[in-house]
Amino acid sequence: MIGSLAQFWAAVSAYPFLRNALIAGLITGIVAPLIGSFVVVRRLSIIADALAHVMLSGVALGYLLGSTSRVFAAVPPIYYGTAVALVAALLIERLRTMYRSYSELAVPIIMSAGVGLSIVLIGLARGLNVDLVGLLFGNILSVTQADLLRIVVAALIVAVTIALLYKELLYLSFDDEAARLSGVPAKTINFIFSALIALVISVSMQIVGTLLISALITLPVAAALRLAKSFRALLTLGVVFAETSVLVGMAAAYTFDLATGGTIVLVAILILLAVLVWQKRLRA
């Protein structure tokens, strides 16, 4: 493994596109578990998945609109995706209050709407040059300088917002009634939180693709959850596991010529399994 890491490192130094890919991957490895820690303890893992699917329809919409006019084409499709995911996040909150006793219904409703819309829009865009496989499974080598800038800005927004609202987010996640009583503006913060999820998805899209985004948000946190006694430890371990997955996954994918997104997620699964097995041995 060390050998393949060294090989990978040499390649990164030689090729700028690999460098972009690595930086984008490492940034994702920070923000995905950061937001993921809150997503998991709030039992919202499935929402991340739904929003990722909705974002796909937004991206497809971006491609379509871009083919009709130069004005639309000036904005990269991923921005349309982020905007549509934000609207979907709002709709999910709205649906959850409408179906109060079946609030989990909101997720499949939004998710199927997203997937349905994606299929139709991508069908319409068939003549266009749309990298469907890249959208679904990620295409980390497609990260351009402009993409990298967007990813850095989005990640900074996510990290700074989480730092500023850390205590409010933690209180709302742990005991929302007491938090509201303490004057925490629950509705506003929940919306900001959904917006952050959408931003993280937009950051991760090129790295692992629509289908695997929620894996990067939840798997490292799932492993950390088995070991962490404090919330700080959950965040730290989550980031360590995610970064390890990204680094080892990318190096392995490069060395053995595998699909990068899938390999990163498989490494995350291996880490999770290792933690589970190690814990079981410890108890026995």
Partner: protein
């Protein structure tokens, strides 16, 4: 128990009603809490005790009646840091939540700190002080889910105390804790009252202990059945209980308990 100050009203609820559709959960209930007063709110299960608390705290909408905190109407009251609340739900939190005792108590500082401000050194000291007060300082790095019910309860009380409130509201704090923890809880209650001069509202269905430990009793079962001194409640207990709880209700005495306390079963 020390006498409270009858001229200094902390909380005043008048004619509070609350309905789920056409069903009245609360019908014109009134109560008053004075500075330094220990008020026991009793009533059968499902009599609307928790609902009354939530309406008074603004967690449920106040449709009829008025509520004033420190003289300020509920809809204009913003100074929630003056009130500490330990909900019934606090005892049924997600035990798998990765959070330490210290992290839980730090949450209680939010009302004082306000948004965007991060707790500093002074706040860390306050957290430790609150944990020492409830006797849980040694457990501060432990995961909250790994503690016993009684220990968790004391942590949640520390969380309510850390912001230096003037009023403490406790919703069924002794449910699901063992006898030893219950005795410890009432000792803590006395300490909070004596050392911090807190006004306390304690919701309980444990009539015996409450009527002994508190100054004032409020007995409700959707409507108000009694609001007055604890001694007055003890004197007319059978009659009040028969009216509020129904005839089949009896107060039984636990002979095996050293303190011989009446417990509602």
């Amino acid at each position: 128990m020390a006498a409270f100050d009858p001229s200094n009203v902390v909380l005043e609820a008048e004619g509070v009603s609350f309905r789920y559709e056409s069903q009245y959960v609360l019908k014109r209930v009134s109560l008053t809490l004075h500075r330094g007063e220990l008020l026991g709110l009793v009533g059968p299960n499902g009599s609307g005790k928790s609902t009354l608390l939530k309406v008074m705290l603004g967690l449920l909408p106040l449709a009829e009646g008025t509520v004033r905190w420190f003289g300020v109407p509920l809809n204009r009251f913003r100074d929630w840091a003056r009130i500490g609340y330990v909900s019934q739900k606090a005892a049924s939190f997600n035990v798998g939540f990765p959070v330490t005792v210290e992290e839980v108590v730090r949450m209680g500082l939010i009302a004082r700190l306000g948004i965007f401000r991060r707790p500093g050194k002074k706040e860390t000291e306050k957290v430790l002080e609150a944990l020492e007060f409830v006797g849980m300082a040694d457990f501060r790095r432990r995961n909250i889910g790994a503690l016993s019910g009684g220990q968790q309860q004391r942590v949640f009380i520390a969380r309510a105390l850390v912001g230096d409130p003037e009023v403490l509201i406790l919703d069924e704090p002794t449910v699901g804790v063992d006898r030893h923890s219950e005795v410890r809880f009432y000792a803590l209650l006395e300490k909070m009252h004596k050392e911090r001069g807190l006004s306390i509202v304690l919701v309980s269905h444990d009539l015996g202990v409450v009527s002994e430990k508190m100054d004032t009793i409020v007995c409700i079962n959707h409507e108000l059945f009694y609001h007055g001194s604890a001694s007055g409640f003890r004197a007319a207990c059978d009659e009040i209980v028969a009216r509020a709880y129904g005839q089949e209700m009896k107060i039984i005495t636990h002979a095996h308990d050293p303190g011989e306390e009446a417990i509602y079963r």
